[in-house]
Amino acid sequence: MNKETKFIIGRVYFTVFGLIVLGIGIIEILLGLTGRSFEYGIIEISGEFLLWRGVILFSAGAFYLSGVKNFSDIRQYAKIVMASVMVWIIAGMQIFGMILESIPGGEEGGWFNTLEGFLATYSPPYIPSLFLLPFSLVVFYYIKLIEEPRGEDKNKRGNSSVNRG
């Protein structure tokens, strides 16, 4: 598969992904504004800073959609990278919070959690950003692809002349 085809696939992938992220962002903003929560199967849209998480995901979605235009341009692709970073911040902080929550025992328990309690902390439902996290990692593949040096851009050394004007 040549580079151009890979870029076309990337453009389609991040358009679809951007629309999903944008949609989730809108839902989180609406739920955050109305003070409601939503739970379906293993997905849960609730918790602290829901409105802010919505604003961040909405912006990330907009960045993805804006970045797919002229996708192979590094300046455009930087928007996709930052959109992914925004998803990682939300998901990363959620995982960090879960890890810290799983270690100590409950209010009435001992100093440290039991094995059951520890594992229960990691059980579903999860916030949408956790599901978005693995799909956003595709960004690394395209970083590698975009940063590959092109033949015509190879720097030349020594073919200079100083203007003696």
Binding site: E48, F49, W52, R53, V55, I56, S59, A60, A62, F63, I74, R75, Y77, A78, K79, V81, M82, V85, M86, I89, I90, G92, M93, Q94, F96, G97, L100, E101, I103, P104, E107, W111, I143, I146, E147, D153, K154, N155, K156, R157, G158, N159, S160, S161, V162, R164
Partner: protein, 411 residues
């Protein structure tokens, strides 16, 4: 040795061939990211994400140590042990050092060795470590100057410039180094405005830690209310205070990976500085308030100030104790508020009042010291200027929140 003009140019040519690289410069991803993080359209959502990360990290880290371990240690082990072994139960010394003998937790006991130590070590220390760790990473990665560029336009509206974000963010850790950091601002007007505004409106990390503990769901509201006050009173001060607000050129460094050794070093210096200042003031605050309570002075003062506290601010007269403690430590004052019987709206108002009412003694001393840099006239200007500002702010901004509750019908 003297060279002719042609020989000089030949030498220049020779050196240039060896050291100058020619070709088309191809922007790297790092360049592009550096660019989009300072452009408002893309930079502001990224800044919101970074600040969300900051806040989520702060809450998770501080909660892990405070709720996970320190509450358990102080309430289940330290307090019962101290209540059992400390001699003279019910006496003055017992009340001052251990507090209420019937208390079942360290927030309620209010002794220097119970509530005092719990607040300083159990609540404030984890919050401060979390805050400074994240701040140091932001600083060393090169993101903080970009935040300064982003907020420059907004701060210009109140006569400051983007670099004022540094004392503002430092202030969220501790107001004392933040007041010192106002020296980086250009004019006397900017320095005074920034020092007074942050001393009044920006709660320190210790206070934030306690606020997260007692009113977690209202911290966001309190912060927005205080920041709104910061900008509104900043705008007014900018119009009232004579002086210039010049433009500056800010050097924005490239992004880089923070070095572990530097982060550790900075964190240690900041936490050590805070720790050595905080603990004596917290303990002293508890002792002074307990003595005032035992001598009946606090009750007398509460009765005298009752019309203002209940009528204008809509808070119980018992809040006079925490307001006095706030002069020594604001975190301690907020912790004290949680033991007073009042509605959640009164509690939120009281927390706002504690923030606005007076900078802690260490910050106030720093304000005076900053004034001294400009001679005795400067001291008087800082002293009376800050007192006049905070009196106006407390009555107007503190009274306004009571009015908001009345309009919403929740009083």
């Amino acid at each position: 040795m003297k060279l002719a003009i042609d020989e000089r140019w030949n030498l220049i040519d020779k050196i240039a061939k060896q050291v100058v690289k020619y070709g088309t410069y191809r922007s790297t991803l790092k360049d592009a990211i550096e660019e989009i993080t300072v452009k408002p359209l893309t930079g502001i959502p990224i800044a919101i994400a970074v600040l969300y990360g900051f806040w989520a990290f702060f809450g998770a880290f501080a909660g892990f140590f405070t709720d996970g371990f320190f509450v358990k240690f102080f309430d289940n082990h330290w307090l019962p042990w101290l209540q059992g072994v400390f001699p003279g139960k019910g006496g003055w010394l017992y009340y001052i050092l251990v507090g209420d003998p019937t208390a079942s937790n360290c927030f309620e006991a209010f002794g220097a060795l119970t509530s005092g130590l719990f607040v300083a070590i159990g609540v404030v220390l984890p919050a401060i470590i979390a805050f400074y760790l994240f701040l140091t990473i932001l600083e060393d990665s090169g993101y903080l100057p970009r935040l300064a560029v982003l907020i420059d336009t907004v701060l210009h509206k109140i006569g400051l410039h983007g670099f004022a974000i540094v004392p503002m963010i430092l202030s969220l850790g501790c107001n004392v180094p933040a007041v010192a950091a106002t020296r980086a601002l250009e004019t006397k007007k900017q320095r005074f405005m920034m020092a007074v505004l942050l001393a009044i409106f920006i709660p320190c990390g210790a206070q934030l830690g306690i606020m997260l503990e007692i009113i977690p769901q209202y911290v966001g509201f309190v912060m927005i209310y205080l920041f709104a006050g910061f900008f509104i009173f900043g705008f007014i001060l900018n119009k009232l205070i004579p002086g210039k607000s010049p433009e500056i050129l800010l050097d924005v460094p490239p992004y880089q990976m923070p070095i572990g050794r530097n982060v550790r070093g900075k964190l240690w210096i900041r936490v050590k500085g805070f720790f050595t200042v905080a603990i004596p003031f917290v303990l002293l605050g508890v002792i002074i308030v307990n003595i005032m309570y035992l001598t009946g002075f606090l009750g007398w003062l509460a009765n005298v100030l009752e019309p203002v506290l209940c009528g204008w601010f809509g808070v119980p007269k018992e809040t006079v104790g925490p307001l006095i403690a706030a002069f020594l430590r604001k975190d301690l004052a907020v912790a004290q508020l949680s033991t007073i019987n009042m509605t959640i709206y009164q509690l939120v108002t009281s927390v706002i009042l504690v923030s606005l009412y007076f900078p802690c003694v260490a910050t106030f001393a720093m304000l005076i010291r900053e004034g001294k840099e400009e001679g005795w006239r400067g001291v008087l200007q800082y002293l009376f200027g800050s007192l006049a500002t905070l009196t106006a702010v407390v009555f107007l901004w503190g009274g306004l929140i009571h009015l908001v509750w009345i309009i919403l019908g929740v009083v």
